[in-house]
């Protein structure tokens, strides 16, 4: 509850603050202060210190799992603000509003991690999505940004329609006439109406997490949106989508897991194959990362596929690993003028800190042991295998992980094994603080990779 309230309040503060903030950097500092506040508030709630405890009529339920995810999301946002705060200011003149929108998205994220009814699910997802439409189009003069916003908006709304139709059918099929996700008394049997509704909801959520074949918006939107917002969208928001997905399907439909597992399996396989294979071809690192986010989503789908404790823990790990690495990579990418792979040529020599941290992030995304990404993948595969008979899916996944090495390592090769061309511009605005933050992020990636208990400790205690 703390997180929802503070994010919403701080969002409003930032929105109106735009009128009063004088200094160029003031919105950034305010945002950083806000996110720290949100993080603290969330941590307090993790230790049962709640600001308010109104009667929620079972609309929300705050469990350690959701709170832990919130903490991860907020911490990543903090890192994101610290790394990319200046770049947000560069997108346009309404800096304060951008931050406000991000806070609203975070509010949606906190709802998505704690919703207890289909209504709150719907609200959470919309609160996450609508600000993103705006952020995507925030580079108003840029046609790419316009196009991305339009595409995102149209397809997002379309999927909202599907989500709602699904919710309506579920409601219609539920004899208890309740939207509460715990009230779906399935008891081993799936009424046709609920079945249809579930499939529709599944599709809508698959769209949100950009799973194939509902991923088509992802590359274009991530490519067209201002890079700094792509970074946010592709990481924290996507992870929140998965949390919502997992929460709904484990609570509502968990008992009939066997019946719908095959859909997830198909979607997972398709996502892995399409995401990884298409990423291979990309010449632009930004677009490559967009496809990589699809590919990584394929792995995260294993959490929903497996639906057990390992999967839940794995999802947290995966979210943290993926978000840290991707935010770090985007932060570096933003500082380079040239988004093509050639733009990375010789970066390792020109700027060793950037190079080495980028390597760590890329290794983590590939899933090389010793990095957080490995632990994420490891938990996912473990969960999937524990669940039973779809070994073929796991094998597909690891083969695709090997394919993913292809495009991630192209960047590594460019940075360390190729010489910089004469045209390659120096990365700009590299301050010692920025480097330090990258090192911190890289260190976190490695520490989580070596001792994931660090993150999961709170779930176990």
């Amino acid at each position: 509850m703390n997180a929802i309230i503070t994010t919403a309040v701080w969002g409003v503060v930032m929105m109106f603050g735009g009128v009063f903030f004088k200094g160029k950097d003031t919105p950034r500092y305010a945002a950083i202060a806000g996110i720290i506040l949100v993080l603290i508030a969330n941590c307090l709630e993790m230790n049962d210190q709640v600001f308010f405890s109104p009667d929620l009529h079972r609309m929300f339920e705050f469990k350690p799992f959701g709170l832990l995810f919130n903490a991860v999301a907020f911490a990543c946002t903090l890192l994101y603000f610290l790394l990319n705060g200046r770049d947000v200011a560069r997108v346009g003149s309404n800096v304060s509003e951008y931050f406000a929108l991000i806070f609203f998205v975070l509010c949606g994220v906190s709802i998505a991690s704690s919703f207890n009814t289909l209504l709150t699910l719907f609200l959470g997802i919309e609160i996450m999505s609508i600000p993103l439409y705006i952020l995507t189009g925030s580079d108003k003069r840029n046609l790419k940004s316009n196009e991305a916003a339009l595409k995102y908006f149209l397809m997002g709304s379309f999927s909202t329609g599907i989500l709602l139709l699904g919710i309506a059918f579920i409601y219609g099929g539920n004899e208890l006439a309740s939207f509460n996700i715990n009230d779906l008394n399935l008891a081993g049997r799936m009424p046709a109406m609920i079945g249809v509704g579930m499939l529709l909801v599944l599709i809508a959520l698959a769209f949100k997490v950009s799973a194939a074949p509902f991923h088509f918006w992802t590359p274009d939107v991530y490519d067209g949106a201002p890079t700094v917002f792509t970074s946010f969208m592709a990481t924290i928001v996507k992870a929140a989508g998965f949390i919502a997905f997992l929460r709904l399907f484990s609570k509502s439909f968990g008992v009939l897991h066997e019946q719908w597992q095959i859909f997830i399996a198909i979607i997972t396989a398709a996502t892995l194959v399409i995401g990884n294979l298409t990423a291979v071809f990309q010449q632009s690192v930004k677009r490559m990362l967009a496809y990589s986010s699809i590919a990584q989503a394929g792995f995260m789908l294993f959490a929903i596929f497996a639906l057990n404790d390992d999967a839940r823990e794995g999802l947290i790990l995966y979210s943290a690993a993926y978000s840290l690495a991707t935010i770090g990579l985007f932060a570096i990418l933003i500082r380079l003028e040239d988004y093509t792979i050639e733009g990375f040529n010789g970066l390792g020599k020109r700027s060793p800190v950037l190079g080495v941290t980028a390597v760590i992030f890329l290794l983590s995304l590939t899933g090389v042991p010793g990095t957080a990404g490995f632990m994420g993948k490891f938990y996912m595969l473990m969960a999937a295998l524990k669940n039973g008979h779809h070994t073929w899916l796991v094998i597909t996944a690891v083969l695709m992980a090997a394919v993913s090495a292809y495009y991630y390592f192209r960047v590594i090769q460019a940075m360390f094994f190729r010489e910089a061309g004469t045209l390659s511009a120096e990365p700009r605005d590299i301050t010692p603080g920025f480097k330090l933050l990258l090192i911190v992020a890289a260190a976190l990636v490695i520490m989580i990779g070596l001792y994931p208990e660090m993150l999961l400790y709170w779930l176990h205690s």
Partner: protein, 111 residues
Amino acid sequence: MEIKWYIGLAVALFCIGVTGVLTRRNAIIVFMCIELMLNAVNLLLVAFSKMHALAAPATADFVTRASEAQVFVFFIMVVAAAEVSVGLAIIVMLYRNTHSVDVNFLNRLKN
């Protein structure tokens, strides 16, 4: 009337909406079709709400719950309104930059 007629109507409306999205190129009309989809859902929700209320014993708790769907409809309307405002803003921005509201006019973003 039986519930299936309502379901049929709502689904039909929804499909008309989908077909519109698929076939039309004008962003505004596409958007309107999406609104049609949402409203089909609204209709369906209200119908279900009534259905549940009729089918069940009239305890206070149950009636409250059955009417939740009608509240949901309001939420959908509000959210749709928010979407409209954002969506129209995006379309206006697009029109300003390209003097076109054709959704397929812009396709710089592709492989």
